[in-house]
């Protein structure tokens, strides 16, 4: 049985004038960590809210843990853990009080499922008497995860859990998700960070409410058409303009400290010809190397097509 299924889910706001999710269809297998990757406003949170039974979709069907999100919403609420995008715990309650409260309303206790949250909880335990509002961003996320996990949910929903969290805490957070996977918990996680996408079993790229691609991270990057080059030079600002005006260029954008360049056809991917062109434009210290596309490259590639 699948942990989550979506079948042509469409969700609109403001009486149908704003299309948030456009016929989304995907499936999350039991025990899988499934990533929903897309920029802000892509429709990720809407999908989460439909699946967590908080919002009703206009059309389409969806199930979570085998239960229908409309008819059997109460059963779903018994067996899922949900961590909303915004920090949603009681800021005026201490770490321990928050955890105790959520354990109790889910009819369990910290003791009962301690082994499940142990790895995470030991990190925030030194601050257990501190009010949640006074925790750092990373600590808040850990506490929120503990609260979402305390009742041993079958399916865990994490809506942008690492947004606004420092780089170290983000890595730690994903390590924790990996451990949860071993406990057999199915996870649907959304993130705007492409580097985190690689840590999922399967990812769906979403933009403008549309699911653009569903595959494993490895298969996703394999879908990248043609070759991709990283180009560096002494004058990066001018380099972008020069590359964009090059006749064989399909697209060029800044990616970290280099330009990622793709060509219209593989025949255009002639390094010596490009070097000559750039040298003629007065570029020095040129470094051109072919690279394997990442998830972000693919995402930009397909959304460029979408946006015309």
């Amino acid at each position: 049985m699948s942990a989550i299924t979506l079948d042509n889910i469409t969700k609109t706001y403001n009486k149908g004038t704003v299309l948030a999710v456009d016929k989304a269809t995907f499936e999350v297998a039991e025990g899988e960590t499934f990533g929903l990757i897309g920029p802000d406003g892509a429709g990720k949170t809407s999908i989460f809210r439909v699946l967590t039974t908080l919002l009703l979709a206009e059309s389409g069907n969806a199930t979570v843990a085998g239960f229908d999100v409309v008819k059997e919403y109460a059963k779903i609420r018994d067996c899922i853990g949900y961590m909303p995008g915004r920090f949603s715990l009681y800021q005026d309650l201490t770490v321990e009080e928050n955890l105790n409260f959520f354990a109790t309303i889910f009819n369990t206790s910290i003791k009962e499922n301690y082994d499940l949250i142990k790895d995470i909880y030991v990190q925030i335990e030194p601050f257990k008497d501190r009010r949640a509002g006074k925790l750092s961003g990373g600590m808040k996320q850990k506490l929120a995860l503990c609260c979402a996990l305390i009742h041993k949910p079958r399916v865990l929903f994490l809506d942008e859990p690492t947004t606004g969290v420092d780089a170290v805490s983000r890595v730690e957070f994903w390590d924790m998700l990996k451990r949860l996977k071993h406990q057999g918990i199915s996870i649907l996680v959304s993130t705007p960070y492409m580097d985190e996408a690689a840590l999922c079993d399967k990812i769906a790229l979403i933009e403008g409410g549309k699911i653009l691609s569903i595959a494993s991270p490895a298969d996703t990057v394999k879908k990248y058409p043609g070759k991709l080059f990283a180009v560096k030079s002494a004058n990066m600002h001018k380099l972008l303009q020069d590359l964009r005006s090059y006749e064989g260029t399909y697209s060029c954008f800044t990616f970290g400290d280099a330009m990622h360049l793709s060509f219209k056809q593989d025949a255009d991917a002639d390094v010596s010809k490009l070097t000559a062109y750039l040298t003629a434009k007065g570029q020095t210290n040129l470094e051109i190397a072919e690279i394997t596309a990442g998830i972000e490259d693919y995402f930009i590639r397909i959304t460029e097509k979408l946006n015309g």
Binding site: L56, Y73, Y82, R86, S88, I105
Partner: protein, 373 residues
């Protein structure tokens, strides 16, 4: 309810109390405001008038008039000035605001009283301020009535002095008795409705409502857990108000305290239901507060009769007052506290209040959103 549900409820109520006791503003709202209001209305804004300057024109100068004047002088409400003024002079004095009232004893006052058993006293009051005028007249009449009662006790002959105004229940027109029931209605409305609606809207604003909805908590449990703490706090407040009115404002509770608490509990529940109703529509704490004030506080102040008499209002406003729960509660409290009446005197009001409460609860349960939108 099984033990699991009770545990959930208890944890939730405990959480609510944490919220209350950890937020200074909430604490101030819950305990500071009621005390301040009782004191404010009870002492400062009372409509009792002390030391009003009046003139007494004694044309009789006999035993009877002297006796009554002595009584008037002894009263803390009047500052008596004795002079034999003409009508024109009195009018001038009144107009200039030097005096609030003039009392005139005609010739042969005591003679008339002792032989004809009937005499007159003329009272001229400055009615540009009708409230003060009425109040002063009442004070004076009660003094005259006092005198007559004493005279009756001594002589066993009934003597009549006109005018005679009968003042029921509140012979001295004290400020506190009228205000305390009104303040009780106001304070309970404020705490129950406003604080409950804010408490629920806060969960929406903070995003915690999302998590509560996506949990096995039943909606009625959320409602119960949100209202019980404020019910308890309100009863505590009620006790404080009653203690203050007994010991600070010297206002005894004439009727049954138990009945008063039971009726108050009913009113509190109706206020809690109103608060819930507001919270359903409001999206922010600010909106909840504004709605509570506009739609609850104002009607409570204006339409219960404790500030302005309902009988003097336009018909349509009187109509609106019939759906304001505090109107009934105000009547009930007055009946129990001031008149010392029992349940048989207020069963109608109780029934209406219970009906309103029931309707509100039903509406709330039907309207409670199990989803975000």
């Amino acid at each position: 309810m099984n033990t699991a549900v009770l545990k959930q409820l208890f944890a939730f109520i405990q959480k609510e109390f944490y919220h209350v006791f950890r937020d200074r503003k909430t604490l101030l709202m819950l305990f500071g405001v009621p005390i301040a209001q009782v004191l404010l209305f009870g002492f400062v804004l009372s409509n009792e008038i002390k030391g009003s300057r009046i003139v007494v024109c004694d044309y009789a100068k006999d035993y009877g008039s002297q006796e009554i004047i002595r009584k008037i002088e002894a009263s803390k409400y009047f500052k008596v000035q004795k002079a034999a003024l003409t009508h024109d002079q009195i009018e001038a004095e009144l107009r200039s605001g030097n005096i609030k009232m003039a009392v005139i004893f005609p010739d042969h006052f005591y003679n008339d009283l002792s032989h004809l058993n009937k005499a007159q006293i003329q009272i001229i009051a400055d009615a540009s301020d009708p409230n003060t005028a009425t109040t002063l007249t009442s004070y004076l009449t009660s003094i005259i009535n006092d005198y007559q009662a004493e005279a009756l006790a001594q002589t066993n002959v009934s003597q009549t002095i006109v005018p005679q105004v009968k003042m029921l229940y509140n012979p001295e027109l004290l400020g506190a008795p009228n205000f305390v029931p009104g303040v009780m209605a106001l304070v309970l409305m404020l705490i129950c409705a406003m604080m409950t609606s804010i408490a629920i809207v806060k969960e929406k604003e903070m995003g915690t409502m999302e998590i509560l909805l996506v949990s096995p908590l039943k909606p009625y449990l959320v409602i119960l857990a949100k209202t019980i703490p404020y019910l308890l706090v309100s009863l505590l407040n009620l006790a404080a108000i009653l203690l203050m009115s007994v010991y600070l404002l010297d206002l005894a509770i004439k009727g049954s305290v138990l009945l008063l608490f039971l009726e108050s509990t009913l009113f509190i529940i109706s206020c809690l239901a109103l608060g819930l109703w507001i919270s359903v529509g409001a999206e922010s704490q600010m909106a909840a507060m504004m709605t509570s004030q506009m739609s609850l506080m104002l009607p409570t102040m204006m339409l219960t009769g404790f500030m302005f008499p309902i009988e003097n209002m336009p018909i349509w406003m009187q109509g609106i007052s019939y759906i304001v729960p505090s109107r009934y509660y105000y009547t009930i409290v007055k009946a129990i506290m001031l008149q010392g009446l029992g349940f048989s005197a207020i069963w109608r009001e109780t029934l209406v209040l219970a009906f309103i409460t029931f309707v509100l609860i039903v509406v709330n349960i039907r309207k409670f959103k199990i989803r975000l939108a």
